[in-house]
Subunit: 351 residues, 4 copies
């Protein structure tokens, strides 16, 4: 079969590789019908994620059709149309039992991290993929949901909702600020609407992206390049700051912004992937009665979000900006890697 | 009357001042029967808290007898024996309505901070004190509770419980680590027991204090001067770290320690007062699924803690290490300021 | 002044009475600009609420202008446009300190019940009203909110939200069923939308009311007169029942319906006012993992709901079905008491 | 092998039956080393549970040694000493994914109920037992925990804690009343201590059992045969009632008692197994701001409780009142069925 293979920093290829095989009774094999590319795939390609070794098939998002099931699998069958989650869950380790799938200790890629596809085992940017712990890690696509919609459930939608909205303890009436209007920031904006906020403020440097943010539910936009940005955010509240400040960039400067605009009693939710330490102004913040949260998605809200997509309550088609075929994988990478220019959000790659 | 007056950095006096008077219908005047000294009083005396201006009577902890009530006060009467809370609450501002008394916007000292005694208005290290918003800021001492016990409810016990234990989301079965075994750290240790933890680990540099910590409920002690300290903490867990790490010192190094030992899904609760920024290793922590909390006590658990003291469930007499009379105030300060040497915890100062 | 006075079972009059006076330093006097009638006013008139004695001015909803303030009131001023809450809060009793204003122990009407207007003291269906505990019991109307909108905050909106939606622990993705599509049931339906449910099912005997319910946010309607009603509700879920079943009628039969359609792990929230015991089928329900909640509104979500009205997120004008002047009070009662026929929801009565 | 077999109402035998065999890759076979008898076993024997058919081996509690593992089992091995939970969890159905193991939809005994041992499949009062969904349904016994201690984790301890203490939303400072001082009531009393209550009141008709309750942590006892019982309970609170009232009997009268003594804002937690409807006085309770909860244990707190037993924080040996060998099964039943006379709590039956 063909797959997108990482060959070392800066090197990748769409090339012929061996078909995956069932290795454990709890595995299934899935034919990929729809996949996409994540910002972290670009990080891997830069060589920023040393755990990914040359020869690894990339990709942790995908929707497909089961072609083979392990001997202990009873609730899934060949032909089922399923969403592959970016996080595996063995279902029985200490962390899984607490719903902390992000840190699943299951034997596969046993380092206490649930993210294994395209990281510690071969991923979803391929014609076929082996899926470990299938019964506790995949979700059947309900009738009426398209593959394009379903693939947003692999990562982006639960990440925005769990790590941004829920960790931020968003509640009805809140003012929510989201710093960064890339795909994950937009997923935060869309799913924040599930908790009845009074305002959702999109903060970004790019006027075009903030305009787009309004299509996802932002009520206001503030350009972070404006020296008056903080004053403008405060003017959108009662003067004391926002209830929830979501960091969806991953830089020290944007993290600091979040701590500057959060009100007493409010919450900073970090969604961004960071590569450097940040300075936390504890001399001011110790008295400020805030929480700061961070983490990898557990995907335990995936079934609920999928239900809302099926009911037409979350219009996730908006994320799909470009369409490719699987064998146009390199073109898809090219378009996605030049997002500022191409205005790519999620590129849909189909069989 | 006599009072302990701040005269500028490094300068204080126990001197004659005017008696306080009712200024608002919601005020009461209280004769101080028991007071004590807090670490933050020492900070003020060093000149570290610029909001405190020369001439200010210090102290934010105290128990006393009401001698006069404002015209709108109906639920308190002359002769009532009451606990003065370190935090005032007007009861009707936006923050008070949400239980966030720490940021009460009430007119007195209207800067959005509930701590006003010995800070923005005259405090409790005096023979008499004016208490604003009395009906929403004082608590009657129940029968069977001594003044020495009651004064622990002014600040130290609710601070340890709310900011350490509750913000840390402590729950039955948890392993709780408390960094710093000073009075507030010990209050965290004592009140952590209210949530049925499996272990409470006291971490400190001073072997004597860790020994003392066991009297307050610590099950284990780890000396932070030991190069193997982290390994030793991990050995007391399943190898993945503690559920709750409480910082009760206020230094960048101890804050960093807390983030090193917290498990995935765990909580860092900052109780320490910080004077400098801290470096947060977001490059490692972003994926770690933790929360970090911080803040000033709201004192909304004071009635509950008082009930537990009255029922004999919290033996707070253990905090009282030394006893003085009001006119021995300067000696009390001397003893408390040399705590490492005198082994002072809370010095009880009585009429 | 003129007021609607209860004269004993079945008897009422719009008659001249004495103007109210400030009695306590915490009181204010309010000129009523807008008021309305509640179903419980009709209950009182039938003689069903013995605590209401002849001579009592009825009404517990209203918006008006402050004309006089007590001596301790500092945060309200003559001329302020305020919402009167159906629940008073003294702000300092044990129950108020826990946010349980519904059971405020404040001296006025001191029986542990927060509802006093038109019940234990004179109410709001009058030209003027005395408001006890004003600073902790009224809310300033924000700019851009009309009196007609604001009066929905006196009772109906917080009741629907707190007792139906919040007690029902509604969360994103839930299927919510609301039994009874009267004004309070519609308030449940409207505010359930704040938690992102996947479906809101209106259940009623009246096809017209169910049609109306869709304008308030219901996605589906089931006629409870249909012998297949339960089967139809189940068909709208995965077959296991609804997540949240709200009883908004107050009869044994409708209460039983709620317990029949709630799924394992789900919640029954009683909003209806009951006059008789109900039979609870514990032989089936003990194993069913449900909660049943009930209670009087606390109104502590009033500021939040008001913010959402001000932001245009809750279109409460839909509740206003008829308009009257104060001196048309008896006509307003007539219209409201024949709601089935007049299709009255809330009748707006203005100065 | 030998097993205790139900032969129809009133009939049972300790007789030779076939050895169990692995049926699914996720099964294990366990040699029973320690088992016990539950009150519900007596109900079954009376014929009260029609789902149990003649020929069924009874028992849903047990600790034993794994003798065989299914082909997909990787985290358990022959020789492991494990606790069998009274509730199975397939780990991947909708209910299991939400932690609602009590209603596991897994194929075995697929009626949406997690309790299958000694109910829908053969149970633990036997020399060997087949355990379905083993990796998600058994717990390894940690070092230092005896089988006698471990068997309390099969049912009684998590049931008391989850259905009584946690459903009752017990929190520090609460007054908790437990109606019924049988084994499960005592488990509620013991585990209520994990939330730092100010008082635990045991209410029972039997003076001897109330005395015993104090050994499990009750601070007070009230005899429900005393006509002044309610007054006495109220006198132990501030006059407004208890925060948490746990029903641990299963009768209409005791259920009603719980609703009489709960304070505004409080919680009634039903633990008892009911055979008849109860009358709920909604005419009084609708305004009372309470919740009533009920359900079957999920056992998701079993690992946590086991940790506390291992740390010596829960002295569960107190439950073991009598000891038997497996082939004395009928004598054990005889002793347990005459508990009022024999003062039996849990009878320990060992290999």
């Amino acid at each position: 079969m063909k797959a997108l293979v990482y060959l070392g920093p800066g090197e990748k290829a769409w090339k012929e590789v061996a078909l995956p095989k069932i290795q454990h009774p709890t595995d299934v094999i899935v034919r990929i019908d729809t996949t996409t590319i994540c910002g972290s795939d670009l990080h891997i390609l830069k060589g920023d994620v040393p755990a990914v070794t040359p020869g690894r098939i990339l990709g942790h998002e995908g929707v497909g059709t089961i072609t083979e099931v392990g001997s202990s699998v009873t609730s899934l069958a060949v032909g089922d149309n399923v969403i592959l989650s970016c996080i595996k869950s063995c279902g029985h380790c200490n962390f899984c039992k607490q719903g902390l799938f992000a840190h699943c200790l299951g034997e596969e890629g046993a380092v206490g991290i649930g993210w294994i596809f395209g990281h510690l085992i071969d991923g979803t940017q391929a014609e076929f993929v082996r899926v470990p712990y299938a019964e506790t890690s995949v979700y059947k696509v309900p009738e009426g949901v398209t593959n394009q919609q379903a693939v947003m459930l692999s990562d982006i939608l639960p990440t925005g909702f769990e790590i941004g909205v829920q960790n931020g303890q968003t509640k009805p009436g809140d003012v929510v600020a989201v710093i960064g209007a890339g795909p994950v920031g937009l997923a935060v904006i869309m799913t924040a609407g599930l908790y009845g906020p009074s305002k959702i403020i999109s903060i970004d440097l790019d006027a075009n992206r903030m305009e787009q943010a309004k299509k996802f539910g932002a009520t206001d936009g503030v350009n972070s390049g404006d020296p008056q940005w903080k004053k403008k955010v405060m003017a959108l509240t009662d003067g004391w700051g926002v209830d929830v400040a979501v960091e969806a960039v991953g830089l020290p400067a944007t993290f600091d912004m979040a701590t500057q605009i959060v009100r007493p009693g409010g919450h900073v939710a970090n969604v961004g992937v960071h590569g450097k330490p940040v300075e936390l102004r504890m001399q001011d913040l110790w008295i400020h009665n805030i929480t700061i949260s961070m983490g990898l998605v557990n995907t335990n809200t995936t079934p609920m979000l999928l239900k809302l997509v099926a009911e037409g309550k979350l219009n996730v088609d908006k994320f799909a900006s470009h369409h490719f075929k699987l064998d146009e994988m390199l073109a898809a990478y090219d378009t996605f890697s030049r997002a500022a220019e191409t205005k790519a959000l999620k590129v849909i790659i189909e069989r």
